[in-house]
């Protein structure tokens, strides 16, 4: 693949190295002249100097034939614009942006950036998974939609325990994908299947329906 990396700081540098050693054709774009010189010393002529959010620079980098553009500068605005120019101007199939400020992640997705990577969100979700009282875990986002795969454990005393799947009304945009029992045995969510205590429910849901789903599956029974 031909991959253009915009921004050759720490993330960009290691990415370039890894992709080069995996046999890909890589070109990095770095604006800072000192960093640029250091990268030429370390990696050779796989870097050009310039503002990778500018159409002319991306053109010079050969964005027209690139399979992917990865924008990993420390500036979210530059990462967004680089991806938008790559996508709309050069029809690059895959655009990936580093999101420095987590509030920008959903906007970037909405604006057509194919993959967003937020270090803050990643660390937060790892911490959340470690916390036993956190009942809903985000497993991963579904590409090209705002839906995501979530995991919800069913408490011992939940009202859904013992009920069949078909008898429980789920919120809109929600589908149960898998049930995993306390011993780690997976079961397909067929209609006659029942919810058991300590089941882990894996479901596809939307941000709007998430709270309602959690409530239905964890509400304590009467």
């Amino acid at each position: 693949m031909y991959i253009i990396i915009v921004g050759c700081g720490k993330v960009g540098y290691h990415l370039a190295q890894a992709l080069l050693s995996a046999g890909h054709e890589v070109l990095a774009i770095e604006q800072d002249s000192q960093k640029y010189a250091a990268i030429v010393d370390a990696l050779g002529s796989v870097v050009i100097s310039g503002d990778g959010a500018e159409a002319a620079v991306l053109e010079e980098a050969g964005a027209g034939r690139a399979d992917a553009v990865i924008a990993v500068t420390g500036q979210d605005d530059d990462n967004l614009v680089a991806c938008q120019v790559a996508k709309h101007r050069f029809k690059v199939a895959k655009t990936i942006a580093l999101v420095n400020n987590p509030e920008n992640e959903s906007l970037f997705q909405k604006l057509g950036v194919d993959v967003t990577v937020s270090q803050t969100s990643m660390i937060l979700s790892h911490i959340e998974e470690e916390l036993p009282e956190h009942p809903l875990v985000h497993l991963f986002p579904i590409p090209d939609s705002d839906r995501r795969l979530v995991g919800i454990p069913i408490p011992m005393d939940a009202s859904v325990v013992g009920k069949t799947l078909e008898s429980v009304t789920l919120p809109p945009d929600t589908l149960i994908a898998l049930l995993i029992d306390a011993r780690g045995e997976p079961r397909l969510p067929t209609e006659g299947e029942i919810f058991k205590a300590n089941d882990e429910v894996v479901a596809v849901t939307s941000p709007a329906a998430e709270e309602a789903l959690l409530n239905i599956l964890t509400r304590v029974g009467v």
Binding site: A56, D78, L80, V81, R89, L107, K110
Partner: protein, 119 residues
């Protein structure tokens, strides 16, 4: 200039800028609200009252910051009219196609100078 003219026309204007010096240059008597803050951050945009705004104008120096701020105004806060300064002609055309109203003061100035030359 835009702020001054809009305020003189009787509109309520709030200005958000990351530079205190820039804000200080505005004369007090215009009744323009000035706020020190970053127009690409949602909390600062809210502080400037973007949720009630009819018009949003992004005219910082850098295209990318204007593009990010303007797209937040358009897609997150649903401001009716969003205008932004995009200097690079290629990006200007692209963002126009993506629904932003773009202007380029640099282009306008050079056009006027060229016109004056040919006169």
């Amino acid at each position: 200039m835009v702020a001054r003219t809009m305020a003189l026309e009787g509109h309520a204007v709030a200005i958000l800028d990351t530079s205190e010096d820039n804000l200080r240059r505005l004369p007090d008597h215009l009744g323009v609200t000035t706020l020190l803050g970053d127009g690409t951050l949602e909390q600062d945009l809210r502080r400037a009252g973007i949720e009630e705004a009819d018009v949003f104008v992004a005219v910082e120096e850098r295209d990318s910051r204007n593009a990010l701020a303007a797209q937040k105004a358009l897609h997150l806060f649903n401001v009716g009219k969003v205008i932004c300064n995009i200097g690079d002609p290629v990006r200007q055309e692209m963002y126009r196609a993506l629904g932003l109203e773009t202007v380029s003061p640099a282009k306008a100035a050079s056009d006027m100078i060229l016109q004056a030359l040919h006169r």
